[in-house]
């Protein structure tokens, strides 16, 4: 195969990425403008005078800390329990044939394919009836029920791709079922486990729809709900810089986690592991 060198591919890439990232870059630059400048027409590209007031205000807001830590704690607990419950379930469905196997996987796919925003109202009615609406645990349980099938969907190809002969030989060597799972299957599908954990964490952290129905008290609200409250409050006063700084702050935790998992994710994508 003849290798072509394409120096202009870099130029095109930079252009494409610049267009794709414009929303984020432009909002960041705008969050450093004064309120007068941000509402002026036509808008300027760079702030004429650097104004950090909006960011200072965001960092001095106690609601930001409260909701951010709520969000982080919820999504961490959700990701842990969800991966923990979905992993063995996926293993059983992937490996064994039993009577309700088709039913079980049908339920999983049904929930996975149904947008969670459609499900939230029915869930809200039931949560109200059994009095878990507006509690942190109620929210976490509902999120696990909604994201569990998604975890199943993400994990299945990884477990499917483990050759069954490896497990059989471990069984012949006298490994118990639990040993088999923990010492053979888990190490072989560790990438899948990590990718699933990461994606569930991010999905839970970014969730707005479910939290909107499940959490109503200010003390247990998540960060996206705070954003919603603020935008209603601020938008019509033109203080876009406040809203923008707060919205951009929401990207920081996911980006940190993304960088932490970057190698694994890249490996998973490069190997074509995101296949189904």
């Amino acid at each position: 195969m003849i290798k072509k060198r394409r120096p202009f591919k870099w130029v095109i890439t930079v252009l494409i990425l610049l267009i794709l990232l414009t929303p984020i870059i432009w909002s960041f630059l705008s969050s450093l403008k004064t309120t007068a400048e941000i509402t002026a027409y036509p808008a300027t590209l760079f702030p004429t005078k650097l104004y950090t007031g909006a960011w200072v205000q965001t960092f001095n807001n106690s609601g930001v800390y409260l909701t951010m830590s709520n969000s982080l704690v919820y999504s961490l607990v959700i990701a842990l329990i969800c991966t923990g419950l979905a992993y063995p379930a996926t293993y059983v469905i992937s490996r064994y044939k039993f009577r309700i196997r088709t039913l079980a996987s049908s339920i999983m796919y049904f929930v996975m394919l149904t947008p969670s925003t459609i499900l939230i109202f029915p869930v809200f009615i039931m949560a109200t009836l059994i009095k878990i609406q507006n509690t942190a645990w109620g929210y976490i349980l509902v999120m696990i029920a909604i994201l569990g099938p998604f975890a199943f969907f993400l994990m299945k190809p990884y477990i499917d791709s483990i050759p069954i002969e490896i497990e059989e030989s471990a069984l012949v060597d006298g490994a118990s079922s639990l040993q088999l799972l923990l010492k053979v299957v888990v190490p072989l599908s560790i990438n899948g486990l990590i990718v699933t954990f990461f994606l569930i964490f991010v999905t839970a952290f970014n969730d707005f729809g479910i939290a909107f129905g499940m959490l109503t008290s200010d003390s247990i609200k998540t960060f996206p709900l705070l954003l919603f409250a603020r935008i209603q409050f601020l938008q019509w006063q033109g203080s876009w810089n406040d809203i923008l700084s707060m919205s951009l702050l929401a990207l920081v935790p996911t980006m940190i986690v993304f960088l932490l998992f970057f190698r694994r994710l890249q490996e998973a994508i490069l190997k074509g592991g995101v296949k189904v």
């Binding site: 432009w26 979905a86 379930a89 947008p115 925003t117 970014n206 994508i269």
Partner: protein, 281 residues
């Protein structure tokens, strides 16, 4: 075997059944009930449904949902396919692009809705500024139906492109490049190779990509709620936004449940072919 099933499978199945399947049954029940109190059931016939289907606002909700979903799914798929093909070979450039795509994909939907609302703003938006420097009239995206709908599509597609590119790219990596090379030697043109080799081999990945795009296109409540708030005059209100408004703002449990059940049926109908395909594999 049996204990393993119980221990491994049932916890998840139980949580899913209790928190998803039981509520759906309750919602169907509430949607045909007379009063809001669940334990005080009186069958009201299909009043809630008849009311909705004779209402112009609800028909518009359905139209808006289809408009946004179909347009954003196909646009994102096409752009994603183009980018995935352009960056097919794994090089440094590809890595940078894919990492950027990941960043966009991980952006909180609420944040992207707010950012796009700001970008397309009539006075302080970037579109207004660009049009101004090009000497053209600026557009007010949020004062009439179709510009507002297209603004929503734009914001959703921005997010979707990332998903489409990542998945299609990773699907392309599973295609053996030798097939392509053999076809090149046989004198197949670029378009022919794409049409008769790459595209058929990419069928399964495309299918999965469509599922993922469909799930996250019309169903996110953040975009209509934070960008247009359904306005102007409810003309950009999606089914989901209607559901949230009836359920959480107006507290009409009966009609909210009816909207929920209708949305569920629509999404189930849309997904039946996909569902069949998945179970086969």
């Amino acid at each position: 075997m049996r204990w393993k099933l119980t221990l491994f499978l049932f916890p998840l199945l139980l949580v899913v059944s209790i928190f998803i399947l039981v509520p759906i049954i309750i919602a169907i029940y509430v949607s045909v009930s007379e009063s809001q109190a669940v334990f005080d059931f009186a069958f009201s016939g299909f009043r809630n449904y008849i009311y909705l289907f004779t209402e112009e606002r609800f028909l518009n909700n359905i139209f808006v949902t289809f408009y946004i979903s179909l347009l954003s799914i196909y646009l994102a798929y096409l752009v994603g396919l183009f980018l995935a093909l352009y960056y097919r070979r794994a090089t440094m450039v590809t890595n940078v692009t894919l990492a950027t795509m990941m960043v966009i994909y991980l952006t909180m939907p609420a944040t992207s809705a707010i950012i796009w609302r700001f970008l397309l703003d009539y006075s302080s938006g970037i579109t207004s500024a660009i049009l101004f420097y090009m000497g053209m009239e600026r557009i007010d995206f949020f004062s009439s139906q179709f510009p507002a709908l297209n603004a929503l599509v734009l914001a959703i597609v921005w997010r979707q492109i990332a998903i489409a590119t990542i998945f299609l790219w990773s699907g392309l990596q599973n295609i053996n490049p030798e097939i392509d090379e053999a076809a090149t030697l046989d004198g197949a043109a670029r378009w022919e190779r794409f049409r008769y080799i790459t595209l058929p081999l990419l069928k399964k990945t495309s299918f999965i990509t469509f599922i993922l795009l469909a799930i996250s296109s019309g169903s996110l409540v953040e975009f209509p709620l934070l960008m247009t708030a359904g306005g102007p005059f409810n003309s950009t209100e999606t089914l989901i936004l209607r559901l949230y408004r009836e359920g959480f703002f107006s507290l009409n449990w009966g009609s909210a449940s009816a909207v929920g059940v209708i949305s569920l049926i629509i999404s189930a109908l849309a997904f039946i072919p996909l569902f069949r395909g998945i179970l086969k594999t």
